[in-house]
Every structure is written in C-alpha cells, then in structure tokens.
C-alpha cells in the first residue's frame, strides 16, 4: 500500500533518479517532472512524491511557478483522499496562496535591476487564487465522506471554470472521485441501499448497475451487497497482555548490580 505510493510501478526510471537524488533541486529538471505530471493526467496514473518534487522546485524558484501545473497536482491529490496528499501539497504552495500579487518573472535573485522596475503583476491574474478555496472545499467534502454534496458543488455553475479548463483534461477525474467513495463504502458497509450508493457515485440506473458489477459487487433488490473484506467484517476479540523485554530492562539491570 505504502510501497506503491512511495514508488508507483508506473514511474519511469529517469523520474525515479530525479526524485530520489539531489537532482530534484535542479531547476532545469522541472520540465521532466511537469511532463510526467501531464502523463499522469492522461494515463490515469498518480505519483504523489514526484508531484511534490515539482512543488518543491516552485517553492525554491518562484520564477518557475506555473499555476496550471499546480492546479493539476491538486486535482490529482484530491482523489487520493483520505490520504494526506492534498494537505501535503498545500503545505508546499502555501507561501503564495494568499498573495494577490504574482511576482514578475524577472526578479530573480541575481537581477538587481528589478528594484527599479515599475509595479507590475503578470499579464493574467493567477488562476489558482480563485480556485484554491473551491479545491480546498472539495477536498474537505471528500475527507468527510460527504459525497452527494461533493457532486452537487462540483457540478454547480460556479465551478464551471474548473471543469471546463482543468478536470476535463484530467482523464478519469470523476472515476477517481468515485474510487474514493468506493473505498469508503467498501470499508464501512456490508450492504448498502442502491439509491444511497447512487448518490455517492453520482450514477443512476444502468450506469450504476454497470459500475457495481465492475467492482464485483452484487445487486440484491434495492440493495447492493459488498463482499466481506478485512474492514467490513467485525469481530469481538480479547487482547492479552504482552510484556516486552525492554520493559523489564530496569529490573534485570538492578538484579545484576545487586
């Protein structure tokens, strides 16, 4: 579980070398990582640590910053719920999230002339700024398993810019959200009302049936039966005490001294 998160099997060897080594700090490598991100959005892959490496480069080199990339990273992280990915990303981009002014590209550390440059914002306002609260809200809804509310906000007219410009490019985004819901349901339910499941997945009728079958779940009247797994089978147990040797270290040491 953790192993594939640390190093997804889909990660190319070159990217792995970048992420694992000191080359991850080299600003000229950001292109490779960004290309890899777009590969992830096209091919339904996900590599959290590689994406965090991009954000790390942005953190240190503000001139590299590309808001489209950041938004795509956040969309990817969103569907990793209930993992901490989204907030790990926010922790790295937080530096700028509240700033209304984007810095002009030219004020690199070495450019002393920028002191005399007139006040300027970049040509377009940073598209991340209006989207960030929305994305955060969506993440919160997924974290708290409020799936029906997620769908209604996600489909709302206010979020049209997000859908039209970003999630549309992120292949399988909606399915990835459904995966989040499926994970939560699989853990919690043995049997769930079809209608309720439909609101979680934003699916109805034959689409829902098909989706349920894909999961290997069975329709039973107005219910869906979730096959037993380690999390939805509960058993009462009695745990017995185990003493470990270090706990007795003091006593044994004392016995030696005496």
């Amino acid at each position: 579980m953790a192993a594939t998160w640390i190093r997804p099997p889909t990660r190319p060897a070159e990217i792995d070398t970048l992420v694992e080594g000191v080359d991850r700090y080299n600003p000229s490598n950001v292109q490779y990582l960004e290309d890899y991100l777009y590969q992830q959005t096209r091919e339904r892959q996900y590599d959290c640590l590689a994406n965090l490496a991009i954000l790390k480069l942005y953190q240190f080199n503000q001139d590299l910053y590309n808001s489209d990339v950041v938004i795509n990273i956040l969309l990817k992280a969103l569907t990793a719920a209930p993992g901490p990915d989204f907030s790990l990303c926010l922790a790295l981009i937080g530096d700028r999230s509240v700033r209304a002014v984007t810095r002009p590209v030219s004020n690199m550390a070495t450019d002393y002339f920028s002191v005399h440059q007139p006040y300027q914002t970049t040509d377009e306002p940073d598209p991340l700024l209006p989207l960030l609260p929305e994305l955060t809200k969506l993440s919160e809804l997924l974290m708290t398993c409020r799936f029906p509310q997620f769908w209604s906000i996600y489909r709302s007219p206010e979020l049209a810019p997000l859908r039209d410009n970003y999630t549309v490019e992120c292949v399988g985004f909606e399915d990835a959200v459904r995966e989040v819901a499926i994970r939560a349901v699989r853990q919690t339910f043995r049997r769930i009302g079809t209608k309720r499941l439909g609101t979680y997945l934003d699916l109805e009728g034959s689409e829902l049936e098909e989706y349920v079958h894909e999961q290997g779940w069975v329709l039973d009247g107005s219910n869906v039966v979730v096959p037993p797994n380690a999390d939805n089978v509960v058993r009462s147990t009695v745990q017995n005490e185990e003493l470990k040797l270090p706990q007795l270290a003091k006593i044994i040491a004392h016995a030696q001294m005496a």
Binding site: M1, L49, R99, Y112, V115, M143, D231, Q239, E241, I251
Partner: protein
C-alpha cells in the same frame, strides 16, 4: 596602498566589524617615501596604529582566566586531545560565559588572535562559538547574522575544499552542535527576514544585495555536500549489509573513514530532516532518513541532543502525515529515554534544552493520542495527563476541543519558515506585501492541521454512543444525535477511515515512509443496510505494568535503605532525627575537617563518613 587603506577603512565602517584587517595593515606603513600626500598617509598610519593599539588594549582588557582558557583550548585542538577539547567546550566555555560574558560578547576573534598564533582554523572555530553565544544570549544584528553565515561557510569550505581531509578532530557533541546551530541560525534569519516592519534602509539594502546569504539553496548545499564528501549513505548501507570494517573503509574512502567527516555527514542527514520539516515538506523529511536506523544503538544516540531532536522531527512529520500511531510510538520511545536519562544527566548543559523538547513532545503526544486513542505506556500517559490534562480532556471531546488543539500545536510545533523573503527589491510590491502580508508559516501549517482535526470532529461523540450497543439502527442513532440519517452514515464512514492508519512496523528497517494499514481502534463496526453492527475488542486484565512498577519501587526503596548510614546504637537520639542540622552540629566534634568544608552537602557527607569511622572503630 594608501588607497587600499582608505578602502579597507570604508569596508570596515560598512561592516561595522573588522575582517582580518589588523594583520596585514601596519606592514603597509613601512614605505612612507612613496607618498606625496603626507597628510593622508599620516592619517592612514595613524588609523592603523590606533587600530593596533586598540586591539592590544582590548586584549589587555581580556581577563587572565579567559586568556589562559583560550590558549589551553587552542593547544587541545592542535593536539587533537578529545577529552580536553570536550572539557573546554562543554564546561570551560560555559563557565567563563557565566562569569564574564553573561551579557556581552566574547572578545572578537581578531583580539585574541595573537594568543593562538593567528591560527586560522582555531579562529574559525572560535567565531563559531562567538556567534553561537551572540545568538543564544544576546540579540544578533544584521552584521552578526551575515558574519556568522560567512564564518560557517569558511568552516565548511575548509572542511570540504582543502587538499585531502582536514587534520582536525572534534568531539561528536561539538560536531552535532555545529550542524544544529547552522540550521538554527538559518531558521532564525528566515523569520527575522520575514518581518518587514522593523527593517531600516541599510538593512534592506543589505538584504537585497545579499540574497545568497542564508538562502535555502546554500543551506541545503552545505548539508548535501557534507553527506556526499563523507560518503555517509554508502557507509550506512554497507554497515547495514554487514560488510567487514575493511570493506566499509574501502567503500567510504579517505574522508569517510575519518570520524569527523563521518559524523558531520551523519548529522547533516538529521539536519536535512529538520530543514525539510521547517519548510513543510514532511515526506521529503522522512525520505532523507531512509538509511538511518532509528534506535538507541544507532550513532544518533551517541549525542543526546541529536537523539532527542531526531525523534521530535520524525514524530512531528508522522503527525502531519496523519500517521498518529507512528507518531505515538516515536514520542513514547524517546520520552521513555529522556526519563531514564534524567537520572544521569541533570547537570549537563543541554539538560534544559532536552527537557523543553521533551515537554513539547508530551504536548504532541497528547494531540496524537486524542486523535487516535490507543493504549500507550502508562507512565508516559500519566505525565501527559499531568502536564496537559485539561487540554487533553477537551481534545477528546470533538469539535469543542479545537482551541485546545490550536494551543498545543502552536506551543509544540517546530518554528516553521518561509522559503522566500518578502520582495525587498521592489518597493511597490513590498508595500503591497506589508498591506496584505501572507499568513506566517506557523499559521499556515496550523490551519492545515486544524482542517485534519475538523474532518474527524464527530468521531468522539459517535464513539461514545456506539460503545453502548452491539447493534443499532442508523436512524435511531441519528435521532440521538439530532442529525440527519444520511449525514450520520457519512460520519460513520469518516469514523471508519479514522480507525485505519498507515503504520510502519517497529521492527522494519526500510524507509520511514513505508507502512501497512492497521486497525487503530478497539471499537469496530460495519453497516448492514441501515443497521450498525458493533464489535468491541476488549483487553484482558493487565498485571505486568503494575508488577513492574512495584518491583522497581521496591528496588528503589531497597537501594535507598542500603545507602543510608547504619544506625548508631550508642546515641539513639541523633539517629532518630535525620535532620541535617543536628548532624552538622555534631560533625565538628567528630571530625573538624568536615566542618571546615562549609557547604551543607559536604558537611553532611563528612558527618556520615565520620560516623562510619566511628562504627568501624
């Protein structure tokens, strides 16, 4: 040459501090005939003479004890006598600081330079201590901050870019402190730099021109260079693979075989852990620790401060990764260690620091165990409740506990830093920045943490209800809680998620990020359509801890009884009163020398001795 003098003087004024100025300066006044402008020359010579004189006077003003200490310290370092260096470093320096420099700087390196034959390496090390003292006791100004950075660079340059390994040996404690202090000064600089309001014009100019100073890249560069030079990663891998010492020596090369480099490299890894945590990159922080074994047998345990710091940062990263069981385990392990250590180290100069970090870890432990209740070490949990019982109580109540989470988090979190300075180079942007400053790093990370807490704030209430039943209708439960049934079912899913956590098995050797999903709760449930089925894992009665505590207690009683003096049968009155006063008054008669040593403790001890003698007689 006169030109150069003037330049140097200007530089001197600029920096407000003199950089190796005195040494080459007065030699230049040797050829007066070359100059037409006698007045200017005279001034230059005069300045040089004055400088020299001032330094001589300053040196004369240094107390003799300090002079002797410096000469001795220098000699110990030249001899590579680790025991003497440690003594001077850990005890001598601090004692003299208390006595002479509690509120002022130590003499500048240039002043004491003649005492050590202008030994450049010693002077770098001396400045390292000099600035550390400024940071810890006084308030460093911008020059101190810049110069301490330059001095650190000089030190690392010397270590990394000399021909071959530097012929220097320092105690491990000091090596740790060098890395630790380097990062501390970096962190201190970053937070000072981010406060725009109190900067004067001169400081702003210096900040604009000195963007390289204390930059993230420069700090990371130092740490990575030390890691590379020392081949510490290769060393750790080779020793883990069980290679022979000869093979290891072969692998790590001429630098890595020297303990100075090996330990600096090792501590640099821990340094990276800290820097990445301060910058909010928790996964990378844990990742750099991939080859470092976390145990009391690992090299990190050789320096207590390093041992404690490592566990603090690792535990904190786990907390931010929501791996509460891992965080709990990390904190409990190190807090147990601190408790054991307390018996031996009370007078160590780091004792306070270790204790402070310990207190912060108790607070973090309170947070983690409130978020993921589990059975932890009784002793440690008792201390948690002693120290933070009130907050702990609130935190286990769900949403009402938010202020308590906030309070403890702010108290116990690392001092986060922003990677980038305010836009000092652009006045207009700077004004915009000041008008609407970005949230400071602590606030940002606090907000992220509180979002995690808020996401699971209904869990404690649900839990307390479920505990009462073995099966329950979801609608009925919703009624109890005055909630909508659909909403309740969603909360149940959250509760389920919170009861599963990624955990790294304590015995595994791999990366700290590895782990498996485990159940962290004793109360599990599943929903069958609309019925909640609940199962509780109960824990059998525990005797072990109780017996261990009481055996230990009995041992302590036994020990203290045994160390007591034997009662004296001849004078029953005196033994009946264990009060030091009676003993002391009795001491002079028994042994006059004991009374001469005036201090209470010694007198009492003398008295005991006297009594022993008496008995033996």
């Amino acid at each position: 040459m006169a030109q150069r003098n003037v330049y140097e003087q200007e530089l001197d004024e600029d920096l407000g501090d003199n950089l190796d100025f005195a040494i080459g300066n007065y030699v230049q006044s040797g050829a007066p005939g070359l100059y037409d402008d006698q007045v200017q020359l005279d001034q230059a010579t005069l300045a040089a003479m004055q400088m020299q004189l001032a330094q001589q006077q300053a040196l004369a003003g240094v107390p003799d004890a300090v002079k002797r200490f410096i000469v001795h310290f220098h000699q110990s370092i030249r001899d590579g006598n680790l025991a003497e260096i440690s003594l001077a470093y850990e005890s001598g320096w601090n004692r003299l600081t208390e006595k002479f420099y509690a509120k002022t700087e130590w003499p500048e390196a240039e002043i004491i330079s003649p005492l050590v034959g202008d030994d450049p390496i010693f002077l770098i090390l001396y400045r390292e201590l000099y600035y550390r003292h400024v940071y810890s006791r006084l308030s460093p100004n911008i020059d101190d901050r810049f110069h301490s950075y330059e001095n650190s660079c000089e030190l690392f340059n010397y270590l990394l870019n000399s021909d071959g390994p530097a012929p220097l040996d320092l105690p491990e404690q000091w090596l740790w402190d060098i890395i630790d202090e380097f990062i501390y000064q970096f962190q201190s600089f970053c937070s000072w730099r981010s406060k725009v309001a109190n900067k004067n014009e001169e400081e702003i100019v210096m900040l604009i021109e000195g963007t390289q100073i204390w930059s993230c890249y420069s700090v990371l560069n130092v740490l990575y260079s030390l890691i590379q030079k020392s081949q510490i990663l290769e060393y750790l891998k080779a020793t883990q693979a069980g290679e022979t010492p000869e093979a290891v020596a072969e692998i790590v090369g001429e630098y890595g075989t020297r303990s100075l480099y090996r330990m600096l490299g090792y501590f640099s890894i821990i340094g990276l852990l800290r820097v990445h945590t301060l910058l909010g990159d928790y996964t990378l922080a844990l990742k750099v620790m991939d080859n470092v074994e976390l145990s009391q047998k690992a090299p990190l345990a050789r320096v207590t401060a390093c041992h404690v710091a490592t566990y603090y940062y690792v535990g904190f990263c786990y907390l931010m990764l929501r791996r509460y069981p891992d965080a709990n385990r990390t904190f409990v392990t190190i807090l147990n260690f601190i408790n054991r250590m307390r018996q031996y180290h009370t007078r160590s100069y780091q004792y306070d620091q270790v204790n402070k970090t310990g207190d912060r870890m108790y607070a973090l432990l309170a947070i983690c165990s409130a978020l993921s209740p589990s059975r932890l070490d009784d002793n440690i949990m008792n201390t948690v409740k002693e120290k933070y019982g009130e907050q702990y109580g609130k935190m286990t109540q769900g949403s009402e506990g938010l202020p308590a989470f906030e309070e403890l988090f702010i108290y116990a979190c690392p001092k986060f830093i922003a990677a980038n300075p305010p836009p000092y180079e652009n006045e207009v942007q700077l004004a915009a920045w000041q008008e609407e400053p970005p949230a400071d790093p602590v606030t940002r990370h606090l907000a992220l943490f509180l979002a995690d807490v808020r996401a699971q704030d209904t869990v404690p209430t649900l839990r307390s209800f479920l505990k009462l039943y073995t099966s329950l209708d979801a609608g009925k439960l919703a009624n109890f809680l005055d909630a909508d049934e659909e909403e309740l079912v969603q909360q149940m899913m959250v509760m389920k998620q919170c009861s599963r956590s990624l955990t790294r098995p304590p015995t595994s050797a791999g990366s700290l990020l590895e782990g498996e999903i485990v159940t962290t709760t004793d109360l599990d449930f599943a929903i069958e359509e609309n019925t909640v089925v609940i199962a509780e894992s109960t824990v059998g009665r525990r005797y072990g801890g109780w017996f261990i505590r009481n055996i230990e207690h009995a041992q302590r009683v036994f020990d203290s009884l045994r160390s007591q003096p034997l009662p004296i049968s001849k004078t029953p009155a005196a033994t009946a009163v264990p009060n030091g006063q009676t003993e002391k008054s009795e001491a002079p008669a028994a042994q006059p020398r004991a009374a001469a040593g005036r201090s209470g403790g010694r007198a009492a001890w003398g008295a005991t001795n006297a009594r022993r003698v008496e008995i033996e007689a």
